[in-house]
């Protein structure tokens, strides 16, 4: 994840698009989990949502690092 991505001539740290992507993914996962009724088992939904996002982001970062070191 070191390095930058070139977006229309503007350089962004590579983690920024990953962070946005992870947010969208975790949003979708939350909607699905809510439909299933998973949140009835959760004590602190705010904490869970944040943790879910961090885990997703971490997964993305690890995945991209293994693909393009």
């Amino acid at each position: 994840m070191i390095g930058e991505v070139d977006l229309f001539g503007v350089f962004f740290p590579a983690v920024l698009p990953l962070a946005v992507l992870a947010f969208v993914t975790s949003l979708a996962m939350r909607v699905i989990l809510r439909r299933v009724g998973f949140y009835r088992l959760i004590w602190h939904a705010g904490l869970f949502d944040t943790a879910l996002y961090l885990v997703t982001l971490c997964a993305f970062v690890l995945a991209t690092r293994s693909v393009a070191p």
Partner: protein, 682 residues
């Protein structure tokens, strides 16, 4: 909000501010204090509200910064043109944000004044426009994200609790009115009650729009909430309809024993409903009440027909509808409590019918606010460029900010004084920090320790409704005055000059709004009421109207009118033509006629279409201000309709039609009781 919740809110907010500052320093951002006050700006006691505000603020900031990047480079050679362009953009955004009365309006507002903040600050160094824009977005984004995360993790408070509390209050106060119905038959439902109920519904609507941003465990029940709004909106016109009929009955000196008995029963039931918990017993009693209403209607069918009987029957139908609506409110409120809400079967249909909702928008006022905002920033720019005042750019920025923030308020002058007071109060506070404490601070831990008492105090102040505005300005001015940067630099002259410019900018915004947007509340109420007439005549003519949508807009308008009329402090002298409740009742009558017209087995020969056309014409004549033939047409059509329906055999839809026609006659022709009682065979 309890003290405990206030304390946890303050702690969460302080944590968010410190986290934002820490990250800003670690990332070597140019102005960490921007991140600091962004946290204060989005801080709200309800976590869903924080998250929605965060989303809209981030969107608005991005759009505004992009706009600055588009505007500045081509126009930088001509500062006057640049100021004009930015001013017009700010005005346009303010216009959009006033039209959109949901929390989304915040995004428009931000898009406007972020362009002003970024655009004005780079006028002398246009080559740095891109860096400045990116830096502002980064700092604001950092503050927003820290605030949103902290408020959803540290003791979050769900919006649903607040919503439930409000709905309970509404149901309780409605129950109380019904209890009082027989006591105050002569007096119409007063303006204060109208205002409180209508604002409660509008606030509930706005509050509910935050639920989409709530943490995932909050149940989503948009359908339920829409139906509930619609049912609450029906309560007031129905209750006032019963009162109107009671008044008409006592005006002709008629006896109405059956109606009185029913009212007593309903008010006893409503008293039970208005108690602490909405019990299943009360729901059971409701169906019994409906049966008694139907029985009373049938008994009245057998008595000799005439105007008094029609009045009494129509009052009973209204009472039945009122009972139904209140019971539905109780059921819906109970369903909202459940984690997986299910609607009662009968309500499910209504819920499916209700489409998307929109509050009424006021174009004229939006335009005035937009012009005021543009004028304020242009005037500040003129002072800045014409007077070659270096800190004038801060004044221009604050003029744009102030004009945007105060645009949607009813009395824009009101928050400006607390804002200026907040700035003045923040100055000595900030000076104490800047010149006495900071020289001894080394490193982040000691900075955090020194800052936290002030941050806790400001956050705690934000939880009090009356101090909220002052606390926010205080926090913003405090962070701005500290201007925490990576390197400590104290410069008393620029400190004073910048703060003077802030106050000047805010005052300019206030003056522009006061000069352009102050309107007589009575005039405004008349304007809103006329907008209601227009929508009513459109509704009467519309081939496939959405009743629920019309009802919510009209009810919202009723609240706005009531607020204005209460604001005049002489509601007794309010002109008789402004009566939004009457207009709502007319709409309900039209809807009832339409429903009967489409149901199978409807009494044929009711001249509905001609009557609706005549009603639309009446309201158009009212709009033009010259009463013409339309009201006589309405009278003829109604009387003909009543005579035709009276000839039908008794049925439920016959009662509904008669009640609707009677109520329309009372509302549209209040001073003309029928000469010969219609319905009597002539």
């Amino acid at each position: 909000m309890r003290t405990m919740q206030k304390a946890t809110f303050a702690i969460a907010n302080t944590c968010a501010v410190l986290a934002a500052l820490y990250v800003a320093f670690a990332a070597n951002l140019e102005r960490p204090y921007w991140a600091m006050f962004s946290v204060f700006v989005i801080a709200k006691p309800i976590s869903g509200a924080v998250r929605s505000k965060a989303t809209y603020r981030l969107t608005g900031t991005l759009v505004g910064a992009a706009m600055a990047i588009i505007l500045v480079p081509p126009l930088v050679q001509a500062p006057a043109l640049l100021c004009l362009a930015v001013g017009i953009w700010v005005g346009l955004c303010v216009y959009c944000s006033v039209l959109d009365r949901t929390p989304r309006s915040y995004a428009f507002m931000l898009a406007g004044y972020t362009a002003a903040i970024v655009g004005f600050s780079v006028v002398n160094t246009p080559e740095s426009i891109f860096d400045t824009a990116v830096a502002r977005v980064e700092e604001i984004g950092l503050g927003i994200i820290c605030g949103a995360v902290a408020h959803s993790m540290i003791f979050p408070q769900s919006v649903t609790d607040e919503l439930k509390r409000r709905i309970k209050t509404v149901i309780r106060s409605c129950g109380q009115w019904i209890v009082d119905l027989p006591l105050q038959s002569g007096h119409p439902v007063d303006l204060l009650a109208q205002r409180s109920l209508a604002t409660a519904v509008t606030e509930g609507h706005l509050l509910y729009s935050h639920v989409a941003f709530e943490t995932s465990d909050a149940p989503r029940a948009r359908l339920l909430m829409r139906t509930l709004e619609e049912r609450i909106a029906v309560l007031l016109p129905r209750a006032s309809g019963v009162q109107r009929n009671l008044a008409a009955l006592s005006a002709i000196g008629a006896q109405h024993a059956a109606l009185n008995r029913l009212i007593a029963q309903v008010s006893r039931w409503a008293h039970a409903l208005a108690g602490d918990e909405i019990s299943a017993d009360a729901m059971h009693d409701e169906s019994e009440l409906q049966q008694q209403c139907a029985a009373a209607l049938e008994r009245l069918d057998r008595s000799p027909p005439g105007w008094p009987v029609l009045l009494e029957q129509s009052a009973i139908v209204e009472l039945g509808e009122l009972t139904q609506a209140l019971a539905d409110c109780g059921r819906l409120a109970a369903a909202l409590e459940e984690s997986n809400p299910r609607l009662p079967v009968a309500l499910e249909k209504t819920a499916r019918r209700s489409g998307s909702r929109a509050l009424s928008a006021d174009r004229g006022l939006g335009l005035l606010s937009g012009i005021a905002a543009a004028c304020a920033s242009l005037f500040a720019c003129a002072l800045w460029i014409g007077g070659s005042w270096p800190e004038g750019l801060v004044a221009a920025q604050f003029a744009a900010i102030g004009a945007s923030l105060f645009a949607a308020l009813d009395n824009p002058a009101e928050p400006i004084l607390p804002a200026v007071a907040g700035i003045l109060f923040a100055l000595p506070f900030a000076a104490l920090y800047e010149f006495a404490l900071f020289p001894r601070v080394h490193g982040f831990p000691s900075l955090a320790l020194v800052l936290s008492p002030a941050l806790l105090l400001f956050s705690f102040m934000q939880t009090f409704e009356r101090l909220e505005g002052t606390a926010l300005v205080l926090a913003i001015a405090f962070s701005g005055a500290l201007a925490l940067g990576p390197i400590y630099q104290a410069d008393f002259a620029s400190f004073l000059n910048t703060n003077a410019a802030e106050i000047a900018g805010l005052l300019l915004a206030g003056v522009a709004i006061l000069a352009l947007r102050t309107v007589d509340p009575l005039w405004n109420a008349r304007r809103l009421s006329r907008a209601g007439w227009k929508s009513l005549s459109r509704y009467a003519r519309h081939p496939r109207p959405s009743f629920e949508r019309w009802l919510i807009q009209m009810f919202d308008r009723l609240g706005l009118i009531a607020v204005r009329l209460v604001g005049t402090k002489r509601e007794s002298t309010a002109p008789a033509e402004i009566d939004a409740l009457r207009d709502l009742r007319v709409g309900l009558g039209i809807n009832a006629l339409r429903n009967v017209g489409t149901s199978p087995g409807a009494p044929s020969g009711s001249p509905t279409q001609a009557l609706l056309e005549a009603i639309a014409k009446t309201y158009e004549e009212r709009l033009r201000g010259l009463p013409g033939r339309a009201s006589t047409d309405v009278a003829q059509h109604i009387d003909a309709g009543i005579a035709a329906v009276c000839a039908q055999p008794p049925s439920a839809s016959r009662h509904a039609t008669l009640a609707a026609l009677t109520s329309l006659r009372l509302d549209l022709l209040p001073n003309q009781a029928p000469h010969a009682a219609p319905g009597t065979p002539a």
